[in-house]
Symmetry: C2
Subunit: 415 residues, 2 copies
């Protein structure tokens, strides 16, 4: 099936908001085998909406509209839809009752605008929106389909997952489709491609492999489509396993997993507690680790030693080390690890010190020079990175690298 | 002038990347008085690109294309453009020389694909791209303009700022346009609107005020357009001043300023050093503070006391306090502030402890309960927030609130 996305609203055309909805919708539609032909953003004007729909139906089987349904904008989109379909707007009692009950609960009264929100094109089937007051609408149009949803991301996502995607799959049936996603860290796209070349060459024509790189990680997505769903799933499992066997140490998880969560699982397996000692990353590593629910089971804490005096007083970095080698050096990060282990009483610690920029670089240690160390009281690994010139990018780069460095150390320890 | 944006590339249609370029371009175009009529994403196919351009010129004076210029995709976009313009593709020697020199510097040889990159529609004026190998192109078409740029964000931004926006302003002159943006924190849109109602009602018709809310902050943008540029700027300054006088304590900066940078300036003014003691925010506050270049002048460090044992051993939170009031309490954050001041030897410290969720909530202290304290050895302020149920949102909400809490404390101290 071919689908076109139309987002309605001036907020996007004046650049006030980034259209993240369309990327998410496109991803989900691709996963059920739909092809997104175009994504169009138009203003809150009847002519613009009508013209975009007319053009869309030249190629698409279904058009998904988002936005333009708020209490103040409501009339334009719905009136336009009714005219386009040659239908009347009719008052929908159950919707108005639902809105009234909602306002009763919060002790307020609905306004005229909310009464207007309860008018729908007569032929529209309403899609129950558990996350807000404006329902979605499913409309048939000359053997094709128009869907209208609110633009609020969590409302749109709820409607897509629970109503729109299942209905689209029924309405425009296609061959069974399935996916497997493997998550890797530590190598770039081209080196991974070389190592799994044989597996890739052996894929049957009904299975495709996509490389999706992002922030030092590469997601490998196997997508297949075949009339025999059982055979499809078996094949996908088999090829996913072959890829895992080819690059075992690069794979940290599957589907929607996070590198920080993978580190957490390895820590829990050993029942180890982790601490961090951060200089240039300024707490960002601790932040990423603690975005994982339940991380308090294995993450004890962090010292952000931004000033050198803190490196000395709390982490016991020696004055002579700072004088001879500088704060950004292998010696300093090793002492920071030892200091964190001692101070925060954890089994394993990681330390990072670098020059995030834009200032502070020298000939010998340019901006982007980053040292990190990970270790236990028995064993410490160190590593030097050379990042770029952008302060924020350098912080993110160092943090992502550090997570994978902890993972690699734990894997070696677990063997 | 009316402008349409067309992004070329399957990456957007399969949802692999979010189109952040268009929002940025729309903002910049609005600032020079252009109206963005539509934003369209099409695939890497000649027909799709041609049709989108034909439709665009029904309403737009200029069409800006991004993407479709990489060494592998190059041919389609440029061949399509040449055909659309009725021109030949010609080899552009200086561009190829530039690419060769670049590869010489990095010790590699250019490929055939790079030779292809040097072909341009004969009538195109090349826009020098300092950030990459593919130049931008400026093409005249029936009194209208087509601009083609690479899709890489920093290359596109460079070309927009240095070449495209200045040329568009010359090519489609309009009345002088100017803006003033005031940044506020600590109040919502509707309360701000009430407090500046008189100023807003007094605005002349050639000046508009927009409220742009984001993450607990509201940007107030005055935009004006008038034939007399001097008078326009004078009026904008006057009304900006009137707004500042109406809500002095809410305004932390202007234009592209950051709340974390505003906190930094207040600290530098007093020559004070800051430390943080974080529990539920897990280092995110220290991270935001240290994204500001030069923050090492006033930010000393942080203790992320994720486990209660760290709150006790490093920050000297009393066992009896934890037992009687719990880790998420006014008493605990007050002791954390005292502990941070003592341990990190700073003039001022802030502490945060809360239940980020999804687990850990109780009847009395549901998920989203957050306590914070900011203070000096002499004076401590405390505050309780009730956030929502989403872990990441709660962390961001608490962090942004904390930055403004430090700012408010410093403002009171400076008076």
């Amino acid at each position: 099936m071919k689908v076109q996305l139309i987002t309605i609203g001036d907020e996007i055309l004046i650049g006030q908001i980034v259209d993240t909805n369309s990327a998410w919708m496109a991803q989900q539609l691709n996963l059920v085998g739909a092809q997104v032909t175009e994504i169009v953003s138009v203003s809150d004007e009847s002519d613009a909406i009508t013209e975009a729909m007319e053009l869309a139906f030249k190629q698409a089987d279904a058009v998904l509209l988002t936005g333009g349904l708020g209490p103040t904008k409501d009339d334009i989109t719905k009136t336009t839809l009714a005219t386009f379909l040659g239908q009347e707007l009719v008052f929908h009692e159950p919707t108005y009752d639902r809105i009234c009950r909602f306002f009763e609960r919060i002790g307020k009264a609905p306004t005229d605008a909310h009464r207007h929100q309860s008018y729908m094109p007569e032929g529209a089937e309403l899609l129950h929106n558990k996350m807000g007051t404006a329902p979605g609408m499913w409309m048939e149009y000359n053997d094709k389909v128009i869907v209208s949803m609110p633009g609020v991301p969590y409302e749109m996502k709820y409607l897509m997952e629970h109503e729109v995607l299942p209905r689209l799959k029924d309405r425009f049936p296609s061959l069974p489709i399935a996916h497997r996603t493997l998550l890797t860290a530590g190598e770039g796209e081209s080196r991974i491609a070389k190592r799994i070349e044989q597996v890739e060459n052996g894929l049957p024509s009904y299975i495709k492999l996509a490389y999706l790189p992002n922030l030092g990680q590469v997601r490998l997505r196997l997508s297949g489509s075949h009339e025999n769903e059982h055979q499809l799933n078996q094949s996908l499992d088999q090829f996913a396993q072959e890829i895992k066997d080819s690059i075992p140490e690069l794979i940290f998880g599957e589907e929607e997993d996070l590198l920080s969560a993978a580190v957490g699982r390895l820590l829990q397996k050993r029942n180890w507690k982790l601490s961090t000692a951060e200089s240039c990353t300024g707490g960002h590593l601790a932040h990423l680790i603690t975005t994982v629910p339940g991380s308090s089971d294995y993450f004890w804490g962090s010292v952000v030693a931004y000033d050198n005096s803190i490196k000395q007083s709390l982490l016991n970095v020696q004055t002579s080390t700072l004088e001879q080698h500088g704060a950004v050096s292998e010696e300093t990060v090793k002492e920071m690890v030892a200091g964190a282990l001692e101070l925060l009483k954890t089994d394993i610690a990681i330390a990072i010190s670098g020059i995030a920029g834009p200032g502070g670089g020298t000939e010998e240690k340019p901006v982007g020079t980053i040292w990190m160390a990970v270790g236990t009281p028995k064993d410490v690994w160190t590593k030097k990175l050379q990042a770029g010139k952008n302060r924020l990018k350098n912080i993110e780069y160092a943090t992502n690298h550090a997570l994978n460095f902890i993972r690699q150390f734990l894997l070696a320890e677990n063997n």
